[in-house]
Symmetry: C2
């Protein structure tokens, strides 16, 4: 950025660090830095401390790889009220948040850290796949829900996971858990005319009995 | 945000602090926080320190109110090569950056901190207007360039500034500096058909002699 030669080096350093964040360029970083300069010192200190404490105080659950207070099992895995025989496999921590906000799931999770995507350089070895196969073959897991995105990468990952789990289960001599996936169909609240043909076709094939919500038929 | 109950309090705190920044909501703040968790500790520390050092180490120039290393005159005001008899009045520090990047200005600045905008609760008293009138009436200033936005608020502020400066100059018994404003007209590189009528009308009224850039006529 030209014109910054006359600016204090501390501002330039702050712009550089802020613009390392995803989706934030140098122009936005400058705007944010100037905003912080106009606000009380306490506000910038609070932000600075929150970032530092976040990175030092938050780690990953050794069980499910969800985020948690450092070196502790996460609140979901530590909760005895949750069904530990059902594992929902998701890509990211954000997906845990999304599924939790539905209030429909009482089991535990397994955060993979992404999906297999050779084009992006993400192979099976950088994902938490071995630990999933290990959990699945402990003998106590009854169901594994594949909560991955319905994309080509998600489907490929599901296929790979299934084979890995089956191999681990066989090696340990335990029963294969039932493996399920999220229902695919038309999105609730969407206009049918804007639903793509593939989704519409599949939702026709996988049609379910009508329930009027009163008679429970 | 529902579903965060099972999340570490430090994450919630970081989201709250990050989402105080302008244009960043809780969803984006969560994305940024999770990004920091995936990156090395050194990167989060560098960001945290840069923010803290920025706020504590950067202040405002007592002369022109541009940002500078705390309790020092800014690099532009301290530069003896700049023309201190010409002051360009701008709204914000970002405008200093914009004008500096043109490489066309050799004078000094005066950062108002905004423009008069009663609807936004910005009155003349929160802006650096008195200090400008004081500088203008020192007797050494020859020209004051109004580098404000060509908006209603900018024009109102120019009008107010002119009267303030004139009054201060009279009170001090010095010569009134010449007051100029940025040329208004069609933007360089813009299609004429997309220029608004007001700008086009004014640029016709204020047309200038054609210069072919070779003969210098």
């Amino acid at each position: 950025m030209s014109g910054t030669d006359n600016f204090p080096p501390l501002l330039d350093k702050a712009i550089t660090e802020i613009s390392r964040l995803p989706g934030i360029g140098r122009k936005t970083a400058l705007r944010l830095a100037l905003h912080l300069l106009r606000r009380p010192v306490t506000e910038a200190d609070a932000l600075s401390n929150a970032i530092s404490e976040l990175r030092h105080g938050v780690g990953y659950c050794p069980e499910c790889h969800n985020i948690t207070t450092a070196s502790e099992t996460c609140a979901i895995c530590a909760n005895p009220m949750r069904d530990h025989s059902t594992i929902c496999v998701v890509e990211t921590v954000r997906d845990v948040l999304s599924i939790e906000s539905t209030g429909q799931y009482g089991g535990v999770y397994h955060v993979l850290g992404g999906v297999i995507s050779p084009l992006d350089g993400i192979g099976p070895d950088v994902l938490e796949i071995d630990s999933l196969a290990e959990r699945a073959s402990s003998g106590t897991v009854k169901e594994i829900i594949m909560g991955l995105s319905p994309t080509m990468e998600g489907d490929t990952t599901c296929f790979y996971l299934y084979r890995k789990i089956a191999a681990a289960v066989t090696a340990h001599g335990v029963k294969m858990p039932s493996v399920t996936q999220l229902a695919r169909g038309v999105a609730v609240g969407n206009e049918l005319e804007y639903t793509d043909e593939l989704t519409l076709g599949r939702s026709l094939q996988a049609r379910t009995a009508y329930n009027d919500g009163i008679n429970g038929n």
